[in-house]
């Protein structure tokens, strides 16, 4: 799993490969009433960005919405060859409403890649990803990275209804075993999700667990992981200002060997050991 940077390593620490660049919007489409898919041309960061990392986006100002701070968004995909980075976001408030207004051809600043992404244990042959809502956007590039390394993926996609399942095709495209669980038919119930997880473990298809987007699902996966000794990671969110580890706005508490420890989501995360995550 990810380890904290060692402050003794070097007197002047090698700066992480992060830049603040101007991206050009090459595509920006609605996926449904709430979700939008944004593709930016940004050749510098595109080859550097890894699944689980994020960018801090400078959203435009509109007549109604004038976001002051940047907005953190997980990498949804990176295409180093074409110099592109992708985001999938849900329109919720001031920043994302303003973001939704940006037109193809316009430019916007993005800072990144930021934070620590997912890591797949060397020995892993199969992993299980479990997500809900925009959390699936964060997990999709992980599934692709796993597939690229020849690691099998079981993807449990939780959603309110069939219409709001995100990115099922992205998971399917890399050969993941996709299990869709819904609120509408009750299959998203934690007991059912737990059964699917145990099934995957029993089938020898769960060398590591990954989750994002739901506290309830995180707790389920954490419990099963602890019990069955499956390592895991969770990608978390927190209000941010700098995204660079400077402001300490973005802390979350973690339980480390019985003591509570605050860590910055932007720097020590956003991906953390599943075992240490605390309910939110």
């Amino acid at each position: 799993m990810q380890t904290a940077p060692d402050p003794h390593a070097a007197p002047v620490p090698a700066p992480p490969p992060v830049a603040d660049v101007l991206g050009v919007v090459v595509s920006h489409v609605w996926l449904n009433d709430e979700y939008r898919h944004l593709v930016l041309e940004a050749p510098d960061p595109a080859p550097l960005a890894k699944a689980g990392q994020f960018f801090n986006l400078e959203c435009p100002h509109t007549a109604e919405d004038k976001p002051f701070l940047r907005r953190p968004m997980s990498l949804y995909g990176a295409d180093p060859a074409r110099g592109r980075v992708e985001f999938l976001y849900k329109v919720t408030g001031v920043g994302t409403r303003a973001l939704a207004s940006i037109k193809v051809g316009r430019t916007m600043r993005l800072l990144g890649p930021l934070g620590v992404g997912f890591s797949i244990p060397e020995s892993a042959k199969h992993i299980v990803v479990l997500g809900r809502g925009v959390g699936l956007a964060t997990l999709a590039p992980l599934a692709e990275a796993a597939a690229a390394q020849g690691v099998g993926v079981t993807a449990i996609l939780s959603a309110r209804s069939p219409a709001t399942v995100m990115s099922a095709e992205r998971f399917a495209a890399v050969g993941a075993a996709v299990r869709i669980v819904l609120d509408t038919d009750g299959s998203s119930d934690p007991a059912n999700v737990e059964a699917i997880l145990r099934e995957a473990v029993a089938a020898g298809r769960a060398d590591a667990f990954y989750t994002c987007g739901s506290n309830r699902l995180m707790l389920t996966m954490q419990r099963v992981g602890r019990e069955l000794n499956i390592p895991g990671e969770v990608a978390l969110e927190q209000q941010m200002a700098c995204g660079l580890g400077m402001c300490f706005c973005c802390v979350r508490n973690f339980s480390v060997d019985g003591t509570v420890e605050a860590r910055r989501v932007c720097t020590e995360g956003p991906v953390f050991p599943l075992a240490e995550a605390m309910s939110w």
Binding site: P7, P15, E58, R70, L111, Q238, A241, L244, C249, V251
Partner: protein, 334 residues
């Protein structure tokens, strides 16, 4: 105040500005320290990681997040929310303590050719003096005392709210170190000029004007405060006119340098603070919005000086043309 001859035209270099080839002297002096330029980060808005974006050797100085003597956890989340053209924060000074700072953080800046200013805070005058002694070590170029914090000997009232506790704590710090001592004032006071005077009389080498303004925001849907700590500090463009006013008041009240801070995002903002009397400026929140903000300010100051005919950035300090104006103190009452 001092300024170029022509009140509306260009500066002393002549109305046509300064030739493109001619260099503008960017250095500024804060007491015994000479900085390569007037621009540095504000405490709490800077850390090692910024090195990926901003070359440290381009900055006038580096200022650390405030360090407290002991480990502190900081405040509950959410710790930040945006309000109009500004933000509230209630970080609460999480700190790993001074030992950790000296042993773990300080070595990170070894070899960085830019003066490192260490911000310290403590809960009593004696603890402040101890803290100052603690960081008086090689590698530290100056100490910034963040006295906007509660004084446990004064019922939790912040030192910087009144001249008397300010004088007391600055005197004790002054005796504890020969390093340049900057005192960072709080805007949450009715008379910042008197506090600045007290800091000067007690031996401060400079005052930093100012910290965040205590504020609050409520989410009317949840009916809850937007910050876990209820109240927090307002920073960013929203506070600029208040901070400019305080810099102007302090610069008229003291002879030591005033370092301006509060809402600076552009070179124009920095010029405004310097005209009001600041010798140098700190950039805080703007770095969150645009990580390269300090570089833009540095270059823009040079451009302004060239255009206006000032051969030195330092000549901007106090160069406001207000000699013909008088101030009616009724103004605050509107």
């Amino acid at each position: 105040m001092v300024g170029p001859a022509s009140p509306h035209g260009a500066g002393p270099g002549g109305t046509t500005g300064i030739a493109a080839g001619q260099t503008i002297d960017q250095t500024v002096r804060i007491g015994s320290l000479t900085l390569r330029n007037a621009v540095m980060p504000a405490s709490g808005t800077f850390a090692e990681n910024l090195g990926a974006i901003v070359p440290f050797e381009a900055l006038g100085a580096l200022v650390t997040k405030t360090v407290t003597p002991q480990l502190r956890g900081g405040n509950p989340t959410p710790r930040v929310c945006e309000v109009g053209q500004g933000m509230l924060n209630s970080i609460g000074i999480p700190s790993k303590g001074l030992d950790h700072f000296v042993e773990e953080t300080l070595p990170l800046y070894r070899g960085v050719p830019t003066p490192l200013v260490v911000s310290v805070s403590a809960l009593s005058a004696d603890a402040f003096a101890d803290a100052v002694k603690h960081v008086d070590v090689p590698g530290v170029a100056a100490i910034e005392a963040n006295i906007s914090c509660p004084n446990i000997e004064e019922d939790g009232k912040a030192f910087a709210m009144d001249p008397r506790p300010t004088a007391l704590v600055v005197e004790k710090m002054r005796r504890a170190t020969a390093l340049p001592l900057w005192v960072k004032l709080s805007p949450n006071t009715g008379d910042i000029a008197s506090v600045a005077r007290a800091a000067e009389a007690a031996g401060a080498d400079a005052v930093v004007v100012a910290n965040t303004i205590l504020a609050m925001s409520i989410d009317i849907e949840t009916m809850r405060p937007r910050l876990g700590n209820v109240m927090g500090g307002l920073s960013g463009p929203a506070i600029k006119p208040i901070a400019v006013r305080m810099v102007w008041q302090c610069a008229r009240a003291v002879k030591i340098p005033v370092i301006g801070c509060g809402g600076i995002a552009t070179a124009a903002d920095a010029v405004e603070f310097m005209l009001a009397g600041a010798t140098a400026v700190q950039v805080g929140t703007a770095t969150f919005v645009r990580p390269t903000a300090m570089l833009t300010v540095i270059h823009g100051l040079v451009d302004y000086c060239r255009r206006k005919g000032f051969p030195r950035v330092a000549a901007l300090t106090g160069a406001i043309h207000d000699a013909d104006l008088t101030v009616d103190t009724h103004e605050a009452a509107s």
